[in-house]
Symmetry: C2
């Protein structure tokens, strides 16, 4: 039986998962490939730290180039995270005639074009199913399964840490800071949680999804990004009262004016399937002009689920190698250069949506008239208002849901609120998506 050798760079959580999967599912993999996958070696800067998943000493190396330059290794799996020399290693592996599997979303979001070019020049493949939503095969779905569609919209719960925190807050188990601390203890959030909770990770994934679904090589600074750090338990309760759940969504939406690309906390109807995606699970809701709405759900992180996505890519490369076919089955961005659609990424000021507003105001007659006036002057009409006393006669809370409005106008209205003395403290604004 033929054997395909795989070189692994990165002996961390996911790397160990890959090694274990190759062992535990060996018979299953062989049944599908008609050949074996064998670990050629594992490179890591630290090979002495004890790991749960052991590897024979002879397979371990601190020099990734022992694998990158090994002529018997056609596939390199890169799982080292966001290190400075990763890009060089990936490009060097391609130039050395290897195809590469990576789970590195930051690398792809920042340097995807450069890596794609290197792969094309080297005549090799770069696969990255594990980079977005862990085990959910969303890359294949956009690149192949829904390929006959004009993609109209993508709405993704793509960050498990944020979804866990918001789920716990929705269950009334505390405010943001408490739950973040608990999540850090459980290992669901990093000690330095900014990449997750500030929406950076989600915007990296959205950049990849946009490239695949819409053919637009969007830059990270073209994606409007807000994290979940300012969502309060009060917002979640007010949203619930209105029939909404708050989720951090990565949104890409085709409009007549261009492409909306944004990551932010979002009110979605309780009846939406996405509203029932809880805890560390991920889901992506994709609307095609022919397929209509579709949804993909599964674990977005974790050792085994992520390893399963990595090895699925390795198997696809192995099948190609076993057939003796040339690489480059598809450009990694799914669209052909020279044929990319002319779709402009909109500034967030140009988007249109409904809004939720939550503000503390003086509990005096006339305050609602002032607030409504500031909205009306900016062409924003109100769908619902809920006013609640907080401290009798002193302060009240006003919650407003608007009709569809332009973000540029909302920005003006928010500025106008600042000059209203009866509005106390900052007004919290969260966007709403009603059609999912």
């Amino acid at each position: 039986m033929e054997t395909i050798k795989v070189g692994l760079i990165g002996y961390g959580t996911i790397g160990q998962g890959v090694i274990r999967l190759l062992r535990e599912n060996e018979a299953d993999i062989t049944a599908r490939l008609g050949a074996r996958l064998a670990l050629a070696g594992v490179a890591d800067v630290d090979i002495d730290r004890p790991r749960k998943v052991k590897v024979k000493r002879g397979l371990l190396t601190t020099d990734p180039y022992r694998l990158i330059n090994d002529p018997d290794v056609p596939i390199i799996v890169e799982l080292v995270g966001d290190w400075p020399n990763v890009k060089k290693q990936v490009i060097d592996a391609l130039r050395a005639g290897k195809s590469v599997v990576t789970a590195n979303k930051a690398l792809l979001a920042k340097h995807g074009d450069e890596i794609d070019r290197a792969a094309r020049e080297a005549g090799q493949d770069v696969y990255y199913e594990a980079a977005v939503c862990g085990t959910i095969p969303i890359i294949r779905v956009l690149r192949e399964g829904l390929a006959a569609n004009r993609i109209e919209a993508v709405y993704g719960i793509v960050n498990g840490t944020c979804n866990y925190i918001l789920t716990e807050m929705s269950a009334g188990r505390g405010d943001y800071a408490d739950i973040l601390a608990a999540a850090q203890q459980k290992g669901y959030a990093e000690a330095r949680p900014e990449a997750d909770v500030e929406g950076y990770d989600a915007s990296h994934k959205l950049a990849i999804l946009i490239n695949l679904g819409f053919g637009v090589p969007v830059k990270l600074n073209q994606i409007h990004r807000e994290g979940i750090t300012r969502v309060t338990a009060g917002d979640i309760m007010a949203a619930k009262h209105l029939g909404y759940t708050i989720k951090l969504l990565a949104i890409a939406k085709r409009t007549p004016a261009g492409l909306e690309a944004r990551v932010h906390p979002t009110l979605i109807p309780d009846s939406s399937t996405l509203a029932s995606v809880n805890g560390v699970f991920n889901a992506v809701y994709v609307v095609g002009n022919m397929s209509g709405p579709t949804l993909y759900y599964g674990r977005g992180a974790g050792q085994d689920p992520t390893a399963a996505a990595v090895v699925a890519d390795v198997m696809e490369l192995a099948r190609r190698i076993l057939r003796g076919d040339p690489p480059r089955r598809l450009p990694s961005g799914a669209f052909r250069d020279g044929h990319r659609p002319d779709l402009k990424v909109l500034d967030v000021k140009q988007i249109e949506t409904e809004y939720y507003l939550n503000m503390n105001v003086a509990d005096r007659p006339g305050v609602l008239a002032q607030v409504a006036g500031a909205l009306g002057k900016n062409q924003i009409s109100i769908r619902t208002v809920i006013q609640r006393n907080r401290e009798k006669g002193l302060e009240a809370t006003i919650v407003i849901v608007t009709h569809r409005a332009r973000e540029a106008n909302m920005i003006k209205a928010l500025a106008a609120f600042k000059s209203l003395k009866m509005v106390r403290g900052p007004v919290r604004m969260i966007r709403i998506e009603n059609n999912i």
Copy 2:
């Protein structure tokens, strides 16, 4: 720019959808392929009946062999449904050096092995994404996306007609017969609905999913099949009272004894994501040993959604042809012959699950003891009993939820009920799946 010609056999609803999609999404398809897809011709037994989607007269033919034997046509799309000569046409197309895209689940479920063999001998591909769950790319998911997993279980809502009827019954809009009649009026059910409501269509799809997910070439008569015709509004209400929703599920489950393969109405917990899949939508819940639970959701039928799945397959073939690669990227069953796992399909008597029972009994003391006795004698223990008077002093209804039991024992218990005089009429039994 290069052009790939596509020959279409079948000018019905889906065929027209394919033609319209190729026109409406032409620019999008070209952007992804870097080439054009062109309709070479459309064959149908009746080309005179007026259609909504028109085709130039010169492209129409009543002779499919004009396309099958056209050397300029590398891809044949077969969308004629369950006609007797379809198998021959597909095999002839393969032998004539074409790759084939089909949505014909009955053909694949009954003759998949023969067609696969013909494709292999001819060195051509057969793609069939549209055959299962319409627009949901579940074939690619099982063949590629989850390929690194040992698949533990598949639970599918794969028949839109049944799901529509059960959804309407759950909403209290009538009993089975009324809703079937309404569904027929709306076009959601056929005038001769047996293929759907008796579970034949679902078992065809399950056979395909089992072949892909478990590597077992299951025969249709190995799949236990029950339709929805005996589910009553009373069952649905009793299930709701117990926290369950009734769905027609196609189930494949790996157990230590072998593979369970069954299609039947099933009580699933209201909290299950599958319970919220309503109307004509389909969804498949797949559990991999590494990925864990994943879910795929979308329209399982309809002109546009099905056409999108057909054209996605055409595009994948076109990409391969444009690259100049040889066919046979994968065996259509995903597993290599000679490496198929040794997994026995279990008889339904061998399965183990929980059960719901609903029976009319005489409203007399001792009846529950008799019923419980018949279960106990067959090693079936009771989790919940609800007893309700129907006509005071005359008849009562007993609803029972059992603990996990063996179907062989349940069959004996059902036989024992028949000899109990206090049990009136047939006992309705519906299986439960609690772990989804």
